[in-house]
Symmetry: C2
Subunit: 302 residues, 2 copies
DNA sequence: CCTTTGTGATAGATAATATCTATCAAGAAT
DNA sequence: ATTCTTGATAGATATTATCTATCACAAAGG
């Protein structure tokens, strides 16, 4: 295999057609360049230079290979340039897991912002069930994760970011919607829709229903927040929907109404998570803080 | 600057996620790979591997750079593969000079033939005045040349290839065309057209006119064989045109007629030329012989 | 919980390679 | 004919890559 230095010497000779000047431009002595060119010719098994010509001429093969060499050296220069830009850590592709109950309503803006600020960094977003994504994070298929708490694991760094309010919603013609302020007891016995049980969301819905004396409907599991909203809008039951979803273009409140309930404060805690042994944790921390900031901005705007 | 070996180690580690297996696949010991990865990180100024993780994980930057590294190594593999294919000499781009009084009527077929036989070799054809192209050959702007003889120069290898007949042509309604066999004396005093004096062709026309007692017309210098043919076809004068031109699609004899002249044997010698100190002279010789063979084939066909 | 195995890092020695200076041979320029 | 320029060769030195031996620590197994 040739060395990059040898390729440099070949390219310099192709440009200068002079052993001495090629040596000077690559900062070695002329005998070194002469010797290394010979070694390169021996390794490649071809003659690169017409000896005895004045000025020096490359052979047709030598010219062809020097063009290839130039491209290789450009590739190495690009690699080094990227490394220089990466010294801060703000580079590379971060494989980022998100729950579908949050990611689509929050991450697009954040991804665009971060890419503008750090052109060499990308978030490659992948949706999935948090528990499954935790396993993927552990085995190295993901670098970072946005997920609701709680999450257990001493080998993970958990960075709480923000709390997202959860709202109970009903169809507009539901009698509950006629009251200006509901008491929790008013909801006793109501049917509530939820996502399938693999979702964190489901468990939180179970807890809320327990508090209200409501009933978690088991015959109508939603596959997405949208299907929950549509079923709730059709009067099949109530639904618990998160704030960022309701505020998004996709969500919205044209089909359902938030129920105003006295002393209602259900929320879910969202955290960014990465492996404890990760390098570039400052980078992950910065990304996490950008997400938290955007989420707060989105929830503050009225 | 990283070394190609270090890039190999990085790519192997990205693939195996195991220092020992990466070392085995690159045929070094595990401590060597570990050390070289550390050196590479130091040179690039970035962390490529998450230490303490099990199994080994690359950082986002490490993954990005290993992709760049892979591309560089592919470039080097391609360079080596081309070198292997070039050992025979039949590779690279040969910068090939030709006279416009011959090249366009002979070289297209030869270029295609050679490229089929040797896909890694190309002839890059450039037309020009032979004397000027001889200078370009000497100073290394051309590798090879097809030109009429004589050519002087002890620093050049001259490989005579074939003789091309030259024909005197006239307009069809020229009285000379009514005779089935002309004597050279019949042409005494006739006007003959020629190319401008920089062309070898011009000098040969002068010589032929001297032999015939004809007169070289000086007010009508042609810029190409086509313009000579068209002027001759218009009755402005006679013209001397070479065999391969007359046989070509571009040339042809629809506008002019060859004059049948007793004991007519005017020809020009065509040779392939390269620098005496050139490498890969066997390649040039093979190219030259392909040209000679094609020329003979084209002139033999009736 | 203890022992064994696996993994990556470190240390010192050795092998291999790159580069140096000195000098030469040959050609070009004066 | 002499001097200068250019690329090659020789031997010495500097630098780097790789080795083996061994360590520290974590994971796996009993």
């Amino acid at each position: 295999m040739p060395t990059l230095r040898q390729l440099e010497y070949l390219v310099a000779l192709a440009e200068t057609k002079h052993f001495g000047r090629a040596a000077a431009s690559t900062h070695v002595s002329q005998p070194t360049l002469s010797q290394q060119l010979r070694t390169l010719e021996a390794r490649l098994g071809v003659t690169l230079v017409e000896r005895g010509e004045s000025p020096v001429q490359l052979t047709p093969i030598g010219r062809e290979l020097s063009e290839r060499a130039r491209k290789v050296l450009i590739g190495v220069d690009d690699l080094q340039a990227l490394a220089r830009r990466s010294v801060s850590g703000m580079a590379g592709t971060i494989r980022f897991g998100v729950t579908p109950t949050l990611g689509p309503y929050l991450m697009p803006t954040v991804v665009a912002q971060l890419h503008r600020a750090y052109p060499d960094m990308r978030l490659y977003i992948r949706e999935g069930i948090p528990d499954e994504q935790i396993a993927e994070l552990r085995r190295g298929a993901l670098d970072m994760l946005l997920a609701p708490l709680p999450i257990a694991g001493s080998d993970l760094h958990i960075e709480p970011l923000f709390r997202e309010p959860l709202h109970l919603v009903a169809a507009p013609d539901n009698p509950l919607c006629t009251q200006s302020l509901l008491q929790k007891t008013d909801l006793s016995g109501s049917g509530v829709l939820s996502l399938d049980r693999r979702h964190h969301f489901h468990r939180q819905a179970e807890q809320i229903c327990g508090e209200l004396g409501a009933e978690l409907l088991r015959d109508y599991e939603g596959t997405s927040l949208d299907s929950l909203r549509q079923m709730a809008g059709s009067g099949i039951g109530l639904a618990i929907l998160p704030e960022l979803y309701l505020r998004s273009e996709v969500g919205g409140e044209d089909m359902v109404r938030r129920l105003p309930i006295a002393d209602w404060s259900a929320t879910r805690s969202i955290a960014a998570i990465w492996r404890s042994g990760a390098a570039y944790t400052q980078t992950y921390l910065m990304v996490a803080q950008a997400i938290a900031s955007e989420a707060r901005n989105m929830m503050k705007a009225s």
